[in-house]
Structures are given as structure tokens and as C-alpha cells.
């Protein structure tokens, strides 16, 4: 197990380097002068000093040298400034990150609980109510763009019956949790529905697979009550593949809610990305994509570990 872990970790480092290089050199293809990314706008306004600054900041150095300097800055938390607002990127992230985490984490937890329950019942009783419901949800999830679900919910619940606000996050602080909850409901519901579809089908198929295994027949023939068979034999054993899917969803925590954030004017990372892309704000794009890439690497590392726990044969793969 330990040698397997070491092997996996040793893959992570070169991958992280490759990604950072890709991001850096790709952004240098753009026509924007990177000097603006490195100094605050007040300094950049003085054009006489600009060339001197350029020299001091090392922008006249070789590009490879610049890359390593950028890497060092990122590693030490010096993210630079946004071209748009002149704000420090680290401040923007600190402000926006909690909003996205709040939204996506709630949706992730909620959709997982719902999907596991529905998927278990759908698989246990093929053709039953849960199976039909899960089929309908799957069709919706596949055919409808997720922002359309959001718009429909918005139209009905925020405008027609006006039970809920139209989104617009209330920042934590003076208000209580209950004041903030209504604003969270619609965006979370939208995201949950769009995340549900795949997960339910996945759980259902996994449950169906497990139901055919020999130990289930054994348990039944021993006279174990059906709910126990389902819970402690089937459910637990069909969790494996589902866990893998969930770990692959971790990157959504950073960048998975762009459209939903846009529909509900949610001030999270998604809105930051949209604003940055439409304004060609490269420093922000670079930092955010770097952040997501890191989360992805961690997630895929987790997937490998989960797989190796579930199936020890994986550990031997590639270790000749």
C-alpha cells in the first residue's frame, strides 16, 4: 500500500508542473501586456516609470525564467492583481470562494443523499415508483440545460407564487442562518436536480449489479429480512463505484456552478470566471484555473486511493 501511495504521489508533481506550464504559456499567447497583472493600477498609470518597472519586475527576462518566478509566486500565495478591478486576486478569492462552497457543497450533499436513497429503491424494485421517478429525473437531467431548470424554478417560485427570493446571496454576518436560508433554496435546488440525474442512474445500476451477486442469494436463503439484505449487504457493496463518481465531482466545488450562479446572480467563483473571461482578465483566469487543476489532482488521487481500497488488484497495476 505504501509503495502504491508513493507511486501515485510521484505522478502528481510532474502533472502539476505540466498544467502550470500549460496555463502560463497559453496566457502569454494573449495580446494583453502582463505588466498590468503584476503591479497595482496606480503604479501602472505612470507611463514614464513603466519601463523601469518592467526591468525591475523582470519582464524583460527570458520567458522560462519568468515562468519559474510566476510558479514561485503562486506557490507562496502571491497571486497578483486583477486587471479589471485592480483588487488583489487573493482578496477576490477569499470573498468569492465561500459563496460557491456554500452553494455547491449543499447541493453535493443533498443530491448525494437523495440519489443514494432513490437509487437504492429504484434498483431494489425495478419498475416501481422510485424507478419511474428516477427515470423521469434522468431524462430531465440529460435533456434540459441546467440553467433552464433554474429559470423555470425562478419563474414559478420567485415570481408567480413569490414564495422565495430570486437568489442574490445574503452575506454572513449580522443576519441569522434563517434569514439567509430562503436565498439559498432555489440555487441549491437547481444544482441538486441537475446533479441528481447521473448519480441516481449510477447508483441504481450499481445496486442491480450487486443484487445478482452470490452473497445476496446466500443472505436471502438464510432468511435475512429483506430490508437488512438491502441495507447491509446490497447498499454497502454498491457504494464503491458511487464513491468514485463522487470523488470525481470534487472539482465542481470550485468551478461547477457557473450557469447557476449566473441565473441567480450568485457572487461566487463562477461569476468571477465569467467576468474575467469577458474582460480578458488573464491573471484571474490563470489563478482560478490553477486552483481548479490542483483540486482535480487531489480528487484523482482520492479516486485512486478509493479504488485501491475497494479492489486491491489496482495497487499492483503499473508497478512492474
Amino acid at each position: 500500500m505504501i509503495s502504491f501511495l508513493i507511486r501515485r504521489i510521484s505522478i502528481l508533481a510532474p502533472m502539476a508542473l505540466t498544467i502550470s506550464a500549460l496555463i502560463f504559456f497559453a496566457s502569454r499567447l494573449s495580446p494583453i501586456d502582463p505588466i498590468n497583472a503584476m503591479v497595482s493600477p496606480d503604479q501602472a498609470a505612470d507611463s514614464a516609470n513603466l519601463n523601469q518597472l518592467r526591468e525591475e519586475l523582470g519582464l524583460n527576462d527570458h520567458i522560462i525564467l519568468q515562468y519559474f518566478r510566476w510558479l514561485k509566486n503562486i506557490a507562496t500565495g502571491e497571486f497578483g492583481y486583477s486587471l479589471q478591478s485592480g483588487q488583489k486576486i487573493s482578496e477576490i478569492l477569499a470573498l468569492r470562494m465561500p459563496a460557491t462552497l456554500e452553494l455547491v457543497l449543499s447541493a453535493l450533499v443533498l443530491s448525494t443523499i437523495l440519489a443514494l436513497t432513490l437509487g437504492l429503491f429504484a434498483g431494489a424494485k425495478k419498475g416501481g415508483f422510485a424507478d419511474k421517478l428516477s427515470r423521469v429525473l434522468a431524462v430531465i437531467g440529460i435533456a434540459m440545460p441546467d440553467f433552464f431548470i433554474g429559470l423555470a424554478l425562478l419563474n414559478v417560485f420567485a415570481y408567480r407564487v413569490a414564495w422565495l427570493p430570486t437568489g442574490n446571496r445574503v452575506a454572513p454576518g449580522q443576519v441569522t442562518f434563517w434569514d439567509r436560508l430562503p436565498n439559498l433554496i432555489l440555487p441549491v435546488a437547481t444544482l441538486t436536480i441537475s446533479m441528481l440525474a447521473v448519480l441516481i442512474r449510477y447508483t441504481r445500476n450499481s445496486v442491480l449489479d450487486t443484487l445478482n451477486r452470490d452473497f445476496v442469494k446466500t443472505a436471502r436463503s438464510k432468511g435475512v429480512p429483506e430490508w437488512r439484505v438491502l441495507y447491509s449487504h446490497v447498499f454497502r457493496n454498491s457504494l464503491g463505484p458511487v464513491m468514485v463518481l463522487l470523488a470525481f465531482r470534487l472539482p465542481l466545488l470550485v468551478g461547477g456552478s457557473i450557469l447557476v450562479e449566473s441565473v441567480f446572480q450568485w457572487p461566487g467563483i463562477g461569476s468571477t470566471i465569467i467576468a474575467a473571461v469577458s474582460a480578458s482578465d488573464y491573471p484571474v483566469i490563470m489563478v482560478v484555473s490553477m486552483l481548479i487543476a490542483m483540486v482535480i489532482l487531489v480528487a484523482s488521487f482520492l479516486v485512486d486511493i478509493i479504488k485501491s481500497i475497494l479492489d486491491p488488484r489496482v495497487r499492483l497495476e503499473g508497478g512492474k
Binding site: 440529460i142 435533456a143 433552464f148 419563474n155 468551478g255 473571461v277 483566469i285 481548479i292
Partner: protein, 308 residues
């Protein structure tokens, strides 16, 4: 040689007849055919040009005169939605074709050669797959700029992984087959073995992936254009029509401006998925024994027999 040709024809005929006897494929193909035809003849069907401006009748609800209402400039929504299908379907199909092309080339090469190349491409595909698709697309758009062709290129670059994995998997099992062994002993070159001899055997997953990718890309185009970062607004696509819903007033009061475009996306995507399901049934070796045909026949003849 002649015999071989005949056999091929008959395989193709069996395939087509199977497909035409598969209910879900028929439904899907019908939906797609109708939508493509009505996209081509948008102006004729709706009776109004999608660009005809009539400000006096702006923002009218659906009615006899305008089946799906009019937008703020009085343009007929029915006509705009029909013709919006042109660009959306075009983007979906071309991008899916390109993505499949990339995926097939990489998948067959990596799958046949294995080893280091395979490991590198596999890691790359994992990476691209885990990146939230929209973010990746946005990063590319910020580098390449907007426009229909750029959107297509971006989708192709970010959507090749499904095909790649399917083709690679097929190659893994096929490269140990006897006919490949024979090819190798004849001394055929690697490209010839890969592309002339093994690749034709992997067509079915490629075809299925092609249909599914069309659906994914059409939805992705809608999302991208909804954010105002896809196809320039001057070209009507289903996604661009949805952009109207960025305005809360529209979401609240002028529901026909966003419900109908979204529904047409959903209908088309469902149609494509139906075809995909049908193709999977027909092409999957486990289903090859004319199951669909026999079932259909039994249903028809059985009911006819009883009525007699």
C-alpha cells in the same frame, strides 16, 4: 471479391433494417428529421423571416398570429427558433465529428501501441475529463475569441475523451485477436494494421459516441451563448435566443422568449439520445440477433393474427 462485396451489403442492410425496426431509433430519427427540415425551411414554415422587425407588435404573447410570440423588436419567435436550429445543429454535428476524429485517432494509436504513449494520453484524458467542462471551454474561448468556428474548435478540443476511451478499450481487446496476429506476421505496417484492419471493427462505439456528443455540444452551446460568450449575438442560435432570459423582467413576464428555445433544445437532445439508444441496441454484439426485428414482427403479426 464479389462475394465479399455482397456480404458487406447484406450486413449494411441488416443494420439498416434493424435500426428501422427499433422503436426508439425511429422516434429519434423522426424528431431529428422534422427539426432539421423545419430549420432549413424556417422562413417558409413560419411565413415570416426570422429577421423581420415589427416594433409595434413587440413582446406579444403566443397566439394565432405568432405561434410562439414575438421578441422585443417584434421578430417572430417561431421563425427565429426554427432558424436558430440551423446554427445549433450545425455546431453540434461538426464539433462532434471533429471530437470523434481526435478521439478515434488518439484512441486507436494509444490502444494499439500501449506502453508510455498510452499512459500519457490516458492521463491527459483523465485530466481534461475532470476539469469542469464549461471552465475549460471558457479558458479556450478567452484565448481564441468568440465565433462559430472557435466554438466548434473548443468543443472538439474539450470533448474527445469519451470516444478516446471507448476506442482505446476496443483496441485493447482486438489487438490480441488472431487476425491482428496474422497481419503482424505478414509484416504489415503499424498504421495499416491500426487504421485499415482494426479500426473498422470499432465503428459501433464511435457511432454511438458521435450521437451522444452532438447532444452534449448542443447543450454546451446553449450554456455558453447564454453567458454571452459563445456565438456572437447577431446570429440566432437556440443558446442566443435564451440570452433574453438574462433579464429578470423577461424571466418574469415574457416567458415565451426563453421557454420555447429551451424546449426545442430539450426536444432535439432527446431525439438524439433516442437515436443513440437505438444504435446501441442495434450495434451491440449482444443484441445483434435481430431481437428488435423479431419483437416488432411478433407485435405486429401477433395482433393482426388475433384480429383475424
Amino acid at each position: 471479391m464479389k462475394k465479399n462485396n455482397q456480404e458487406q451489403q447484406s450486413t449494411a442492410r441488416i443494420f439498416i433494417s434493424n435500426l428501422l425496426h427499433n422503436p426508439s431509433a425511429i422516434i429519434g430519427l423522426t424528431i431529428i428529421a422534422i427539426m432539421i427540415l423545419s430549420a432549413i425551411f424556417a422562413t417558409q414554415i413560419a411565413g415570416v423571416s426570422p429577421d423581420y422587425i415589427d416594433p409595434v407588435n413587440g413582446r406579444q404573447g403566443p397566439g394565432w398570429h405568432h405561434l410562439m410570440g414575438t421578441d422585443q423588436l417584434g421578430r417572430d419567435m417561431f421563425s427565429r427558433i426554427l432558424s436558430g436550429g440551423r446554427q445549433s445543429i450545425y455546431i453540434g454535428v461538426i464539433a462532434s465529428f471533429l471530437a470523434n476524429f481526435i478521439g478515434t485517432i488518439l484512441g486507436s494509436t494509444a490502444g494499439y501501441l500501449g506502453g508510455k504513449i498510452d499512459a500519457v494520453v490516458m492521463r491527459l484524458s483523465e485530466l481534461v475529463m475532470t476539469f469542469p467542462q464549461l471552465i475549460l471551454v471558457l479558458i479556450f474561448v478567452s484565448l481564441l475569441g468568440q465565433g462559430i468556428n472557435n466554438v466548434i474548435i473548443v468543443f472538439a478540443l474539450t470533448g474527445w475523451m469519451t470516444t478516446f476511451r471507448l476506442v482505446r478499450g476496443e483496441f485493447f481487446s482486438l489487438r490480441e485477436e488472431a487476425f491482428v496476429e496474422a497481419d503482424r506476421s505478414f509484416g504489415f505496417s503499424k498504421p495499416r494494421i491500426i487504421f485499415r484492419h482494426i479500426l473498422p471493427n470499432t465503428l459501433s462505439p464511435i457511432v454511438v459516441a458521435f450521437t451522444i456528443n452532438i447532444a452534449i455540444f448542443i447543450i454546451a452551446e446553449a450554456g455558453l451563448s447564454f453567458l454571452g460568450l459563445g456565438v456572437p449575438v447577431t446570429t440566432p442560435t437556440w443558446g442566443n435566443l435564451l440570452t433574453a432570459a438574462q433579464n429578470p423582467v423577461v424571466v418574469n413576464e415574457y416567458w415565451w422568449l426563453w421557454v420555447f428555445p429551451a424546449l426545442s433544445i430539450a426536444t432535439f437532445v432527446l431525439g438524439v439520445n433516442f437515436v443513440g439508444d437505438g444504435l446501441r441496441d442495434v450495434l451491440d454484439p449482444r443484441h445483434k440477433s435481430l431481437i428488435a426485428k423479431n419483437k416488432w414482427k411478433k407485435m405486429l403479426i401477433g395482433s393482426l393474427g388475433r384480429s383475424k
